[in-house]
Symmetry: none
Subunit: 250 residues, 2 copies
DNA sequence: TCATAATTGATCAAAAATAATCAAAATGAA
DNA sequence: TTCATTTTGATTATTTTTGATCAATTATGA
């Protein structure tokens, strides 16, 4: 049994049990304790395990948790209900865009077990999907630490090189006249992702419906499907403009 | 049986079993052990397999991805000393590359108050520099959750569009013969960043000096400055190959 | 705290595997 | 065929790996 093979075996046992003893490894593998000790020393040097007296332990992944938190405090229940409904439309094999808004972020929890590819410019989304079956593609460019997202020319060029079956986006406001953004960056990003998608899902809780801001960046034709907990008169108007509206109840 | 036929047979056995022994191959193929050894040496040189004592392994069997948290826990003090020295060379206005290694990551703590631009493919680096005076540019592409980094074709293209005054990089091993990487992704990334930088700083703790791995990706000419806590005979050899060596004490 | 037991690191020797050298055999061209 | 080249196998020195031994260190319980 070579060193490489023993390394494999030790890591396997470690993964399964969390810790191992030298005595036990020596008999299990069929080599002397001195050899096992040498193996463990070498592996510890490479950071594959943590050496203890008489054995070794797994190095905890929790030493330094890298985290990009999303502080989406408002209207959480509505956002979750909207995203739960939107996730039902996502099927294995899909390639989807998720933008850096607090609404689209809530979609992550519902897609963790799907076999899809997610393209995003949101750091919290990447963080949230890290330990899932989803493959992640991160848009490159300048990092906006306030928004915890990537933007800039390079980012929009990057988006332009991809194509997705569905895009899950948010806006600052949506009214009959069009779509409103909170910043030019958000507007550019939304446009870039929408133009590269077959089907654009707009995720808007009730507070966004009818709201306008200083920056109207596009008319409603950008949107294919609106998912919302709102149920007022504007909804029929959106419908008449070619948007399918998925209503959810909170 | 010709060399080509034997090569084919060995690869077949390797594919099926994952590993082979020289003794076993010699009897199976009907040639002497010396010949088998010669075959394996030649194949290993071409990267078709990994040579072990008494046999060979499939490269894919050998690769054991080590998580970022694991690597980060090793030789912390040496890494900090190295990065502290390296940071002294970074001046306001610099544009620098930082790679996704655990050594270069330790550089973050020393540059938080500098007015520089950092281009990186490392998620922990972005996280660490979030609340600092540094402007961050994140490389886009596929996210590798084990290494906590971005890689892939898109990433290397992205890097090629930038230019930096300095690059702070790590390797798996550095010896007189050249630079060794832990994976092809790491190799591609290191090359991409180095080629777009005026000055390449290689950050290596003592355990990396003289170490080799299965993947040699470049000779030493890539490196301008080596920062290390190692002080042995190899250092003068590096010096004679045109590398400036900055020695630090832990 | 101290004493006892267990574990470790260091050194050394044996065994196995390898690299290097050289001669024999096979191959191929003139 | 003959000569040169390549390939193979035997031999030997060197290196690597492994296991044993023992002093030094560390953990544990009285």
């Amino acid at each position: 049994m070579t060193f490489q093979k023993r390394t494999h075996k030790i890591l396997e046992l470690l993964e399964h049990h969390g810790e191992v003893e030298i005595r036990q490894l020596a008999t299990e593998i069929g080599v002397s304790e001195v050899t096992v000790r040498r193996d463990l020393a070498s592996m510890a040097k490479d950071g594959l395990l943590y050496r203890t007296h008489g054995g070794a332990m797994k190095i905890s992944e929790l030493i330094k948790p890298v985290s990009f938190a999303n502080k989406a405090a408002v209207n959480l229940k509505a956002k979750d209900a909207i995203c739960k409904r939107a996730a039902e439309d996502i099927i294995d094999g899909d390639v989807i865009f998720i933008d850096c808004g607090s609404t689209a972020f809530r979609l992550c929890q519902f897609i963790k077990n799907k076999k899809i590819k997610v393209i995003t410019n949101s750091l919290p989304v990447v963080n949230e999907l890290q330990h899932s079956t989803v493959t992640i593609n991160l848009i490159g460019g300048e990092v906006d630490t306030t928004r915890q997202a990537v933007h800039g020319t390079m980012a929009y060029e990057h988006i332009a090189r991809y194509h997705a079956s569905k895009a899950f986006l948010g806006v600052d406001g949506i009214a009959a006249e069009g779509l409103y953004a909170g910043s030019e960056h958000e507007a550019s990003n939304t446009l870039a992702m929408a133009s590269q998608s077959d089907c654009v899902y707009m995720l808007c809780d009730a507070s966004k419906i009818g709201k306008t801001s200083y920056l109207k960046f596009n008319d409603l034709s950008l949107v294919d499907i609106l998912v919302s907990d709102y149920n007022g008169p504007e909804v029929t108007e959106f419908g008449s403009k070619g948007i399918s509206v998925l209503s959810v109840t909170v």
